[in-house]
């Protein structure tokens, strides 16, 4: 009996010894210093509890472009959120596996740390809660988080990155969501010509300057702040998506006042993200401006600003040209090149 106890103790000692051995030097995984651009609004609270780290971001970037997230390994996040197109694509509605067409237009991804609502209807309030949606949606990746983990867990590069980012090799759903969000938080676009003009590093051409004046007169009440969105939900009388899954913001709130209201999209890099509208109703910026000028659809909950202005934003041909010249100054070449 004593011998047995002796062996037991001895083996316990070995176990504890070997676990100490695996306790190697802690990997340095520093937080990434993120410069908050001047005039940007406050960050989302979630950002403060999931700040980007060197390896968290590296891991998130790798996951973001991994096609194994889809059931048949053909679609990654980056398939629709194309980095060189400001993380949007060029389909009216997103296209997932087996060419299935989604409900809405792929939104561009930038300055997400400063948003309080995500998606066209604001159904997610934390970026970390978003990645599961495309993974499981039939029209997007049509997979499941355990299916994804099953596919990537044997990958030595991932083991290494999860270890470096989170302290051990365990691949968990939460770590996947957090690292993707960390990567997305680093996508800050604030170095367009517009920004340089603001910082007195460049000057608008004459047409651009006139376009900026038109913008401030006719657009800025919704596309406000340095994000070029006030993050409100509005019905601006765009052609309606008759899909029964669409109700705009009311899809989430159940409040019919929110019927077909959508989040005001940011205009940063807008020149790169055609087509426009919640389901890609407009092929070009010209088409959007022509529509505003001709008059939008009436609705009981049509935005008050449109109601006050005869359901339209009147724009002359010259003003349209000027506005588009200004909108082009919101393209951030450096942001796009980095990707």
């Amino acid at each position: 009996m004593k011998k047995l106890i002796g062996i037991l103790l001895l083996s316990l000692w070995f176990v504890s010894c070997s676990s100490e051995e695996s306790d190697r030097v802690t990997i340095d995984n520093p937080e990434i210093s993120m410069e908050i651009p001047a005039g940007f609004p406050e960050v989302n609270v979630s950002f403060t509890t999931n700040k980007p780290t060197q390896y968290g971001v590296e891991l998130g970037a790798k996951l973001f472009s991994d096609k194994r997230f889809s059931a048949n390994n053909t679609v990654s996040c980056a398939s629709c959120h194309i980095p060189t197109s400001a993380f949007a694509d060029h389909n009216p509605q997103a296209i997932g596996i087996e060419n299935r067409v989604g409900l809405r237009n792929t939104p561009s991804l930038q300055n997400l740390a400063f948003l309080q609502f995500y998606n066209w209807d604001g159904n997610k309030l934390q970026l970390e809660n978003q990645p599961l949606v495309p993974i499981i949606t039939h029209e997007e990746m049509d997979s499941s988080i355990l299916e994804v983990i099953g596919k990537i867990q044997g990958d030595a590069t991932y083991k290494d990155l999860f270890d470096k980012a989170f302290g051990d090799e365990n691949i968990t759903p939460e770590r996947i969501y957090k690292s993707i969000a960390q990567f997305e938080y680093t996508l800050i676009s604030a170095n367009s010509k517009y920004d340089k003009v603001k910082r007195n590093e460049a000057a608008f051409a004459e047409t651009e300057a006139k376009g900026y004046a038109v913008f401030q007169q006719k657009c800025v009440s919704c596309h406000s702040t340095e994000l070029f969105t006030d993050q409100s939900f509005r019905n601006i009388g765009f052609p309606i998506n008759t899909d029964t899954n669409e109700a705009g913001r009311a899809r989430v709130t159940g409040n019919m006042e929110d019927y077909m209201r959508f989040r005001v999209p940011s205009l940063r890099n807008v020149a790169l993200t055609a087509p426009y509208g919640s389901f890609g109703q407009f092929a070009s910026l010209e088409a959007v401006l022509d529509y505003f000028d001709k008059g939008v659809l009436d609705a009981e909950n049509l935005d008050a600003i449109f109601k006050k202005n005869g359901n339209k934003i009147s724009l002359s041909t010259t003003e349209k040209v000027q506005l588009i010249a200004f909108l082009n100054t919101l393209t951030d070449e450096q942001f796009l090149k980095k990707q």
Binding site: N123, V133, I136, L146, T244, R251, T253
Partner: protein
């Protein structure tokens, strides 16, 4: 060591006595079967496609004839209440062991067996139509069995965009020209899980149901069967709302296709009650077999 053996013998003998009494007249626990009878008024629903002659047709208070081709709903958070008022929760925080998809197309799903219910006399049953917000997260790691059951291709009870479960899924046809009817319900609540003070947006479509048993269920040597009627006549002609299905748009009394939170609560309140003046919705206890 000899002493130890003696003790062991005693213990074994003791166990034998216990198990002996288990097999006798008064077991400590037994099964309770919940049997769901999905009806239009008093007729059990027969599903059918648009032009089906055998499908059960129903006429709403507003005069709209309708029938279903698909009928599913989720039951969870089941509690049995003893005659003395003590509540016996049944795996209320474990969807794998305590939640079910009732599917009219699958006969086996209509009988849900609660196992190991303590022997006692029960007077009431409580359950949820849908899933409580704190568990309604499509957590595949925590509840792999329920996640798979609900997400199966022939079930489709994942509400992906809301990252929760569909609580009900009804497909069917209405009016004499058999226009399509499609009503899905689920929660869109956002906030910190389990902390309702932080729910900043969305609709909670979970409904807690309380039903008095027509006869006390006596769990012991018998395993009672409680038949619960779910009268889907209430969907359009409920205690709370009388619904007329009409064309889409924000002024319709109710659209025939509900796949979002918009317009959804009318249906949810009709079938699940409003949680205050009506805690029964479409449900009633048909009978208890002891």
């Amino acid at each position: 060591m000899k002493n130890f053996k003696k003790y062991l013998l005693l213990v074994v003998a003791g166990l034998a006595f216990v198990s002996c009494s288990d097999d006798g007249d008064n077991p400590v626990a037994n099964n309770v079967t919940l049997s769901f009878n999905n009806t239009f008024k008093n007729s059990t629903i027969v599903l059918g496609n648009a032009t089906s002659a055998s499908a059960t047709a129903n006429t709403s208070a507003a005069g709209q004839v309708h029938h279903f081709s698909e009928l599913k709903y989720v039951i969870s958070n089941i509690r049995l209440v003893k005659a003395d008022g003590t509540e016996i929760p049944y795996n209320v925080n474990d969807l794998d062991k305590g939640a079910a998809v009732i599917d009219q197309a699958k006969a086996a799903s209509l009988n849900y067996v609660l196992s190991n219910i303590p022997s006692a006399t029960y007077k009431q049953i409580k359950f949820g139509l849908g899933v409580k917000t704190d568990l309604n997260t499509l957590d595949e790691v925590r509840f792999p069995v329920f996640y798979a059951t609900a997400g199966a291709n022939d079930t489709e009870m994942h509400w992906e965009w809301g990252t929760g479960y569909r609580f009900t899924k009804i497909e069917g046809f209405y009016d004499t020209d058999n226009k399509q009817l499609s009503i899905h319900t689920g929660s869109t609540v956002s906030g910190t899980m389990g902390d309702s003070a932080t729910y900043v947006q969305g609709v909670d479509a979970y409904r807690d149901i309380t039903l008095d048993l027509t006869t006390n269920a006596v769990v012991g040597k018998n395993a009672p069967k409680i038949t619960i009627k779910a009268d889907f006549d209430k969907l359009l002609s409920g205690k709370i709302n009388t619904i007329t299905l009409s064309s889409t748009g924000m002024n319709a009394n109710a659209t025939p296709s509900v796949h979002t939170a918009a317009n959804m609560v009318k249906y949810v309140d009709n079938i699940g009650g409003n949680g205050s003046s009506d805690v029964k919705g479409m449900f009633s206890v048909e009978n208890v077999e002891n």
